[in-house]
């Protein structure tokens, strides 16, 4: 990372961390102002984050999609943007404390890997790659919002807590809607990835660990939707399920990057 880029990157990380800390403090010590004010921090962080994504795009000449760092940078951007949108629209500012830690983990993990700009190798030059990755980001962002809503639900529905009128119903629905959105975009992601794999490797499906794991995490959310729609799972049970389901998504996220590295070897020249 170049000097100024690195400074902005770490500043973004620190802002997100402060937002999470401020919201937890506000929640624990019943200072609602802290929880709400922290959303301003998310806006500032997201503005810097957007600048970083554009900077990287201009620097490399392609949409940041190569390697752990670029995937983490853009993947976390989607998580933060979707969290902010949901928190704002649904009026659950505390959602940031539930979802932003995942953005921090992904950004931090990306920063630990090779951050140098890489050219777009032949294996990655595909229209289907962009569709695949775009829908992956949307799906993972939605799942993270669902998980964040689940965490907030669990906190607010504890014994003795006063959740406020209609808040739990709203959170429950946010979990459900985010899961539905994630499930649909995840399905498109898997289909687009399969078509890309066919063009690149000659097979729609190879049962390699990354493919299998992404199908597994989709299936887990499919089970969650079945439980919700046909068996009436809602509230705390659904919240716990969505909190654990995100672990599968995190594995998928890093797994995708492993595939990217492997794909470089498809084109051995010389």
């Amino acid at each position: 990372m170049s000097g100024l880029f690195g400074v902005l990157f770490w500043a973004t990380l620190v802002i997100y961390a402060l937002v999470v800390a401020a919201q937890i403090y506000g929640r624990v010590f019943a200072k609602q102002r802290w929880v709400r004010a922290a959303l301003v921090g998310v806006i500032v962080g997201l503005t810097l984050h957007t600048l970083l994504v554009v900077w990287r795009w201009v620097e490399t000449g392609h949409i940041p999609t190569i390697g752990n760092f670029e995937n983490g940078l853009v993947g976390a951007w989607f998580i933060v943007a979707m969290t902010l949108w949901a928190a704002w629209r649904e009026r659950y500012p505390l959602l940031a404390a539930g979802a932003l830690p995942f953005a921090l983990v992904i950004l931090g993990g990306g920063a630990l890997s090779d951050t140098s700009a890489q050219p777009m190798v032949a294996a990655l030059r595909s229209f289907w790659l962009y569709i695949h990755i775009f829908f992956a980001w949307l799906a993972y962002g939605a799942y993270t919002v669902a998980c964040g809503a689940g965490i907030v639900y669990l906190v607010r529905s504890r014994k003795g807590a006063d959740p406020g009128a209609g808040v739990l119903d709203g959170l429950d629905e946010l979990m459900f809607r985010s899961t539905v959105f994630g499930f649909i975009t995840d399905a498109i992601m898997i289909a687009a990835g399969s078509i890309w794999a066919k063009n690149l490797w000659g097979a729609y499906w190879s049962w390699d660990p990354v493919e299998t794991w992404s199908l597994l995490s989709w299936l887990v959310y499919g089970v969650a939707l079945h439980l919700r729609i046909t068996m009436g799972w809602r509230g705390r049970r659904l919240a716990w399920l969505l909190v654990f389901a995100i672990l599968g998504v995190l594995v998928s996220f890093w797994g995708v990057n492993l595939v990217m590295e492997g794909s470089l070897h498809v084109f051995n020249v010389g």
């Binding site: 032949a122 049962w207 068996m231 084109f267």
Partner: protein, 455 residues
């Protein structure tokens, strides 16, 4: 237990969710248990050789090739049987729900009154000048199909066909599996290495997988105009023109990484490329003794041996020097190839030659000329059918999901008296969001739009 009860039990949500969990567990096993397809045949054989327990689980039970193991196939079979049974059981009710059944005025009024009692119904003072045409327009403006049931009672349904999305989504699994089965049954995979201009012959193919019906006849082709490109030493493009030989005229198809050349069910995938010098051995009078085109190996590998003159001479093509850029087409003419020529153990020439250059071999063994420098490409030839079914299944599945879960069905009853308007509704999903929609809908009744029929 009667067959009917058994069928009802088998199609219950509990069984479906249990089967989904079972399939998920198999996926976990697919990642956790060493798979032959991931390790490769050599490493897998090494893993199981001399380990009876591993051999039993991975080979005898087939868990080392889980996706084709009897266990996996059985559970998937059960899953599809459940899916088919659920579809059969639910199709009738789903079809009926997707139709807009006439509602009686009494029924709707009772629904509104019950809603008013429980607080479920929304109400507002009757807007001045409210007439049926405005109500219809307001409901239609929010996407409802409207039926006037009484003088002051309306019934509206939005996205009434949404339940059919359930059928489409679940049918898509059958389409995808039909595509998968067709691909599995017809898939032929072979690899080959071809030098520019060389025609593919049957013996050039290294068959990796045969379809169930036996080896197909692979259409012959040549690869031409290979075009590798680099940025910062990294390969960013590999393209070529593949010329398929048909019964009539040859067909030229472009190919690149991520874009195979296709002719019918056959696809040619470019995988890698390298240099292929054409070596010309002449005798002392300039007559041709031998002339071969040789594919050089990977730059990280060993020297590539090329036998000439019936094996009396061996040319060792050395890899390009470490760090030297791989030559693009415009640089081929100036690329010096490091090579050694051996006659038995004796080195009769060592040096570097550019295309068009030649060198006399020691001991009057003639003259070696590097006539030209071409590229070779490694290709994979795949012939299969069923991909279209698979893609159609993907499409159907996504359409079904969107139709079912995003365009969910909503139903409202609206009535009014002299003092107030009452609105009650139900939605399949997202009741909180729907409540907001109802509020907006009720508010829109008060908007004074001018339209036909409004008096």
């Amino acid at each position: 237990m009667t067959a009917r009860a058994l069928f009802r039990g088998f199609t219950s949500a509990r069984v479906t969710v249990s089967l989904l969990c079972l399939v998920a567990l198999l996926f976990v096993a697919n990642v956790a248990v060493p798979q032959a397809s991931v390790l490769g045949p050599g490493a897998f054989t090494e893993l199981v050789t001399g380990h009876p327990v591993r051999y039993f689980f991975l080979v005898t039970l087939g868990l080392g090739s889980l996706s084709t193991s009897p266990l996996f196939v059985s559970i998937l079979g059960l899953f599809f049987a459940n899916l088919a049974a659920v579809l059969a059981a639910r199709f009738g009710p789903t079809w009926r729900r997707s139709r807009m059944r006439p509602r009686s005025e009494e029924g709707l009024v009772a629904w509104i009154r019950a809603g008013a009692r429980t607080g479920e119904a929304l109400s507002a003072p009757r807007p001045p000048g409210l007439v049926p045409a405005r109500v219809v327009r307001a409901l239609q403006g929010h996407g409802y199909r409207v039926r006037r049931v009484g003088e002051r009672t309306f019934h509206g349904v939005k996205h009434r066909s949404a339940p059919l999305g359930f059928v489409l989504f679940h049918l898509s699994f059958f389409l995808i599996s039909a595509g998968g089965l067709a691909l599995y049954a017809t898939r032929y995979v072979a690899s080959a290495s071809l030098i520019e201009g060389q025609e593919l012959r049957g013996e050039d193919l290294h068959v990796l997988r045969l379809p169930l019906s036996g080896a197909p006849v692979v259409q012959s082709f040549t690869v031409d105009r290979v075009d590798p490109r680099f940025e910062d030493g990294q390969p960013v493009h590999l393209g070529a023109v593949v010329r398929f030989q048909g019964p009539g005229a040859a067909m030229e198809r472009p190919a690149r990484i991520n874009g195979p050349a296709r002719s019918g069910a056959t696809a040619v995938f470019l995988q890698q490329a390298g240099l292929a010098p054409v070596l010309w051995l002449q005798d002392g009078r300039g007559f041709t003794v031998d002339r071969v085109a040789a594919s050089m190996g990977d730059r990280r590998g060993e020297a590539t041996p090329v036998p000439l003159d019936g094996g009396r001479l061996t040319v060792l093509l050395e890899p390009l020097p470490e760090g030297a850029p791989f030559p693009v087409r415009s640089e081929l003419g100036a690329t010096a190839l490091p090579l050694r020529v051996l006659a038995g153990d004796e080195v009769v020439f060592a040096g570097a030659l550019r295309p068009g250059e030649g060198a006399a071999l020691a001991g009057g063994r003639g003259r070696l000329v590097v006539e030209e420098l071409r590229y070779w490409v490694g290709v994979q030839v795949i012939r299969e059918r069923g991909g279209a079914l698979l893609v159609a299944g993907f499409l159907l599945g996504v359409v079904g999901l969107v139709w079912r879960l995003l365009w969910y069905r909503r139903e409202v009853a609206l009535g009014w008296d002299d003092a107030a308007v009452w609105l009650v509704g139900r939605s399949e999903y997202y009741s909180v969001h729907f409540r907001g929609e109802l509020t907006t809908l009720l508010a829109s009744l008060g908007e004074t739009g001018q339209g036909k029929g409004e008096g």
